[in-house]
């Protein structure tokens, strides 16, 4: 199975702080992988690295065939990042923002309209972003990621801030992802939901993936004694 994401000893700095201190991770096409770990473990930075937004300090990283050390930008149009912000403009309406998001990755406007319907924000289509409620913004953020028709979906604490209906939409998106030809990397605190949705769990701690990062049998053998002792 082709690897959508492959990281080896990836180090990523936030200023002077090594947010990622040597990550090894493989993600195959069509997988849904859960990244679990405490606050500050490096989950968000890991997603940003994969998205090509955080620079690689050392190590190797290949995403969708692009070597991030050489070409950080190449894979971005095919990636949908659902994070803490909506990437939208306050003065534009929901529909205008989504259309801009779709057209900026050369997708047709229909992709924007489809995403709008999928997250259930049709009623807010003509509402300015500034006037949306927090919950509506969360859904919009998801719609922005979907409007790009991405091959790789990166979800950072996606369940936070979503009401029951929103969560249902999100879960449906994740469940149909493999069928849609999408790979999903999901970072979450909500282990119950996360584990139910994901096919595999990679535990992130101290800036590294301490368990479950690689696909082969190395999964079951702790890489060092320290990590084995620390594994839950």
């Amino acid at each position: 199975m082709p690897l959508v994401v492959q990281l080896r000893s990836a180090v990523c700095l936030l200023g002077r702080f090594p947010a990622l201190a040597g990550v090894d991770l493989d993600v195959a096409e069509g997988e849904v992988v859960l990244l679990s770990g405490a606050n500050g473990a490096g989950k968000t930075t890991l997603l940003r690295l994969v998205a090509g937004l955080a620079p690689l300090h050392s190590g190797t990283a290949t995403v969708l065939g692009h070597d991030l050390a050489e070409d950080r930008e190449g894979a971005r149009p095919a990636i949908g990042l659902f994070g803490h912000q909506t990437f939208c403009y306050d003065d534009l309406t929901v529909r205008e923002n989504l259309r801009f998001a779709a057209r900026s990755v050369r997708k047709p406007v229909e992709a924007a309209d489809t995403a709008l319907e999928r997250v259930g924000l049709q009623a807010q289509a003509g509402v300015e972003h500034a006037r949306l409620s927090a919950g509506q913004r969360r859904r919009l953020a998801l719609a922005v990621a979907l409007a790009r028709e991405p091959r790789l979906l990166l979800l950072d604490e996606p369940h936070a801030g979503l009401d029951a209906e929103g969560r249902a939409v999100l879960d449906a998106v994740v469940r149909t992802a493999p069928a849609d030809g999408r790979t999903v990397l999901l970072a979450s605190h909500e282990l119950d939901i996360g584990r139910a949705l994901a096919g595999r769990e990679a535990v992130v701690a101290g800036g590294r993936v301490v368990r479950g990062g690689l696909l082969a049998t190395s999964d079951s053998v702790p890489r060092t004694e320290k990590e084995g002792a620390g594994a839950r």
Binding site: V11, R16, G207, V210, R232
Partner: protein, 280 residues
């Protein structure tokens, strides 16, 4: 004036330690000689009198103002170009800019002092002074940008230096053009251009050389200082990485902040030296 201490991030100072010492003393000797030449040996100007002697410092300062900016621009190019990218160039650019702003300021002040007896005013909107004034502000902007920390600082500053550098000839040309349109007869508005020959010319050239020696020496010193500072930050970073990977097991167990603080305290006590496990 020793070599930089070992264990520093990137190499020692720009110049070999001995060369630096020799250069420093030579520059000092040259400046003293310049003072003697300029104040006593060279004759006073026929029109401007002794005031003209300021030229021997003003012109070299002007030369350095532009040279330093050129060095900053060149270093910026070398930093931006992948094949030659290195923190060395970033430090050179910054060091040269700091020196440049000082010499530019000096040039302006001396120009003003020279102008006072010649023009009767502290300032004239004369082409070269105005261009130098704009240069001063270009420096100030660059240095303001340099003060802002962050991982992207070097690239940001390098691009900014180039944007500003490209502007320098445009400023010079447009100001020159502007002022020649308003030029009045030289008799009533003498500019800072006395006729120079013989000893005066020699002193002037000597001045330029002496100041250039001083500039190179100071550049090396400032560069070394910057290297040492960055070296310290590098060591702190390596420590942080070691801490981060070392505490992996502790994060799972909780109490992340407390344990990290404890480890950092322990690591600090074992400085100087390696400090903590290095797993790279």
């Amino acid at each position: 004036m020793r070599r930089a201490t070992p264990g520093v991030a990137d190499g020692p100072a720009l110049l070999n330690g001995t060369l630096s010492i020799v250069l420093g003393w030579t520059a000092l000797a040259a400046l003293i000689t310049l003072a003697i030449l300029g104040l006593w040996v060279a004759p006073p100007d026929a029109v401007q009198g002794d005031a003209q002697r300021l030229m021997y410092v003003h012109v070299p300062a002007a030369w350095l103002a532009y040279l330093a900016f050129g060095v900053t621009a060149l270093a910026s190019v070398l930093y931006l170009w992948r094949r030659t990218r290195s923190p060395v160039w970033d430090r050179v650019a910054g060091a040269s800019a700091e020196l440049g702003v000082i010499f530019t300021g000096l040039c302006l002040v001396l120009g003003s002092m020279w102008g006072r007896p010649v023009w009767g005013t502290w300032w004239e909107w004369e082409a070269r002074l105005v261009s130098t004034a704009v240069l001063f502000f270009l420096y100030v902007g660059y240095l303001a940008l340099r003060r802002i920390p962050g991982p992207g600082r070097a690239k940001r500053c390098a691009i900014a230096a180039l944007i500003a550098f490209v502007d320098v000839p445009i400023v010079h040309f447009s100001v020159e053009w502007w002022r020649t349109l308003h030029q009045q007869a030289t008799v009533f508005n003498p500019d800072l251009n006395p006729e120079i020959h013989g000893t005066m010319a020699f002193t002037l050239v000597f001045g330029v050389l002496a100041f250039t020696l001083l500039y190179v020496f100071l550049l090396d010193r400032r560069y070394t200082l910057e290297t040492l500072e960055e070296g310290r930050e590098e060591r702190e970073l390596e420590q942080a990485i070691a801490e981060r990977t070392g505490t992996a097991e502790l994060v799972d167990a909780g109490g992340y902040t407390a344990t990290l603080a404890l480890r950092l305290r322990r690591a600090r006590k074992s400085l100087p030296g390696s400090g903590g496990e290095t797993s790279r």
